[in-house]
């Protein structure tokens, strides 16, 4: 066995992948982190205080992991889902009826709920430890935008099953946009944008219409939300996550007493 392992570790294939020995010496442990594109998000050494669960609660890491789970399960769901008003509900229903022990939709749904919670708890922890204070002000702001994106991702996904819960939750949510000052047709000052008896802001061109691609939650809204949910928001979120992690490193690693 030992011999076999040794043979594998000294083969050209193994050495072409791993450019260092087993990480049990300081040198190899350093190389293990430095030579791996995923691990090199981490510094080589960390403060012991910064990796305690009682300090970090692991919520930031969990959020990122949930994002990965959601990307994976979401990708699989996309194979079985057509975002049109007459197909969407059937496709989701079929997933439940025809797949024995199907967990992809469950993982996606429960994971999405959890990601909202883990983002909140992560920000709660960051606030309570004062980790937004200099030099991390900017990264806190990136985090706030990521919070908004998480909520938007969840909100757009809420519509896709195209059942009563989905349509009416989105109706209630987007009804707020009607009341946007100036831009919503039931918002303050919208009536001020009326010239010679012609309303410039009405139900057919206000900000809610723009969100829903229509006057109510219909086919246009479904497609719009689908594209944003599967492509638009994940791309922006992934980009900002890269910035977020990079800035954690550049601003001195996981926060700790100065």
């Amino acid at each position: 066995m030992q011999k076999l392992l040794k043979y594998v570790r000294e083969s050209q294939i193994w050495k072409s992948v791993f450019r260092h020995g087993y990480p049990d010496t300081p040198r190899n442990r350093t190389l293990a982190v430095l030579s791996n594109v995923f691990l090199h998000l981490h510094p080589v050494k960390v403060r012991r205080s910064g990796i305690r669960l009682s300090y970090t609660w692991c919520m930031g890491g969990l959020t990122f992991f949930l994002f990965l789970i959601l990307t994976l399960t979401g990708l699989l769901l996309m194979f079985y889902y057509r975002p049109t008003a007459d197909r969407a509900y059937e496709d989701i229903f079929a997933l439940r009826e025809h797949v024995p022990i199907g967990v992809m939709r469950e993982m996606h749904r429960w994971g999405a709920h959890l990601m909202v919670i883990s983002v909140w708890l992560h920000m709660y922890r960051v606030f309570l430890t004062g980790s937004y204070k200099p030099p991390r002000e900017f990264n806190w702001n990136v985090g706030v935008i990521l919070l908004v994106l998480t909520l938007l991702l969840s909100f757009t996904g809420y519509l896709l099953p195209w059942d009563q819960l989905a349509v009416w939750a989105i109706t209630v949510g987007t009804n707020m946009a009607r009341a946007t000052p100036l831009l919503g047709h039931e918002g303050p000052l919208a009536s001020a944008l009326s010239f010679g008896g012609i309303d410039f802001i009405h139900a057919g061109d206000d900000v809610r219409f723009g969100l829903l691609a229509g006057r109510f939650v219909g086919e246009g809204a479904l497609l719009r939300f689908y594209v944003l949910h599967c492509v638009g928001f994940p791309l922006i979120a992934a980009t900002l996550m890269a910035v977020h992690f990079w800035r954690v490193r550049k601003d001195g690693g996981i926060s700790g007493p100065l």
């Binding site: 469950e106 709920h113 002000e137």
Partner: protein, 391 residues
């Protein structure tokens, strides 16, 4: 769902889960159970709920040395569990709590309570250590540096594996629900926004959509972004503490715990048809009537005090409210800055102070409006439905 949940829960839970389908109707209880349920319904009524939770929060922060003890949180969780076991027997409570989509809300409640306690505990310990001149818990550990491989990478891996296992178990046990197909002609009652927006939907009781649904969410985002630039206190960076930043921590606790998390829980479990309030053991009666007796400030001033009809010109009619609101947002900040908050202005500078004050005043407007609604049935300070401008 119910049978699945029943199979995963121990005896009393399982027994309670099975019979109740849609819940509903009066229940035969013993005198003790009836008294507990009555008390729970009475206490969770929004006015008492809000006042009691504010008092509770003040008590927890003031007596933090006591509340941060391990046995206190243990007893709290034990009592909560006992209450849940008891409450599960009730078909009305059961019907709402066992909805698959409400499981995350229970998780939210448990994790928020636990982590608030944990942070408070570490803050109390750290503050005591600082008082004795010792380094904080984090400060002690920060002196040592360890290799990412294996110390960090391994704990990440363990978290990942355990978490994936938990997610799989959850996903197998509880099937994701799907309701009836979308029908734009049939409005369900209640119609609720996604659960994480229920705090804002709760504010719709007190404010018009342009404030509760547009302005306040925007201010929350802007306010969160502004936090690092407004908070000029250099202390408490990278460790838990309360004594070194009492205002910041208390403020965030009030905002996050009371006005966000607890409103989400209220909106999920205690708001039923027509957004009427229902106690946890109350049947969601479609026909529950709530009297609408709210009065605008203008009616109050013109009709009740001056004894005249309300003027036709909306700007004259609403003049008292307009003066009040302008005074609140434009006169109050400089007035406070020149007097009681002079030190704050000196510390923060004019720009920071003004940004902070405006965000703060918007925040404080929420409890003010809620209080006035409960006590004197105030509807709007400024009510101009002509321009959709109601404050």
């Amino acid at each position: 769902m119910h049978s699945l949940l029943a199979s995963m829960l121990p005896g009393p839970f399982a027994a309670a889960c099975l019979p109740a389908g849609g819940g509903g109707g009066p229940v035969d209880d013993g005198p003790v159970a009836a008294a507990i349920k009555h008390a729970a319904n009475w206490l969770t009524e929004p006015t008492r709920y809000s006042v009691a939770s504010i008092l509770a929060l003040i008590a927890v922060l003031y007596f933090r040395r006591f509340f941060s003890k391990v046995w206190v949180v243990t007893v709290f969780f034990a009592l909560s569990t006992a209450f849940f076991v008891f409450a599960f027997q009730d078909p009305n409570f059961n019907a709402i709590i066992t909805k698959p989509d409400n499981v995350p809300i229970i998780i939210l409640f448990a994790t928020v309570v636990f982590f608030s306690w944990l942070s408070l505990r570490r803050a109390v310990i750290n503050d005591e250590r600082t008082k004795r001149g010792e380094p904080t818990l984090e400060g002690e550990l920060a002196k040592q540096k360890v290799f990412t491989w294996p110390d960090l990478v391994y704990s990440e891996l363990i978290c990942l594996v355990l978490f994936t296992a938990a997610m799989l178990v959850w996903s197998i046990l509880i099937t994701a629900p799907i309701e009836e197909p979308a029908a734009t002609a049939r409005t369900p009652n209640p119609s609720k926004a996604p659960w994480y927006f229920l705090g804002l939907q709760e504010l719709l009781v007190y404010f018009d959509p342009w404030i509760a649904g547009v302005l306040l969410p925007s201010f929350i985002i802007v306010g969160l972004c502004a936090i690092p630039y407004i908070d000029t206190n250099p202390k408490g960076n990278g460790y838990y503490t309360f004594d070194e930043r009492p205002f910041a921590i208390s403020f965030f606790w009030v905002g996050f715990l009371l006005f966000w998390v607890s409103f989400v829980i209220l909106g999920t479990f205690l708001r039923g048809p027509n957004w009427s309030f229902f106690g946890p053991f109350e049947y969601w009666d479609l026909h529950k009537l709530e009297p609408m007796v709210n009065v605008d400030l203008s009616t109050w001033v013109w009709v009740d005090i001056l004894g005249k009809p309300r003027p036709d010109n909306p700007f004259v009619r609403e003049a008292p409210g307009i003066v009040l609101v302008i005074g609140y947002f434009l006169v109050l900040p400089p007035l406070l800055g020149k007097t009681v908050m002079r030190k704050m202005v000196a510390d923060m500078g004019m720009i920071r102070f003004n940004v902070f004050m405006h965000l703060f005043l918007w925040f404080v407007l929420i409890p003010i409006k809620m209080g006035l609604r409960w006590t004197v049935n105030l509807k709007y300070f400024i009510g101009m439905p002509e321009y959709f401008f109601n404050v």
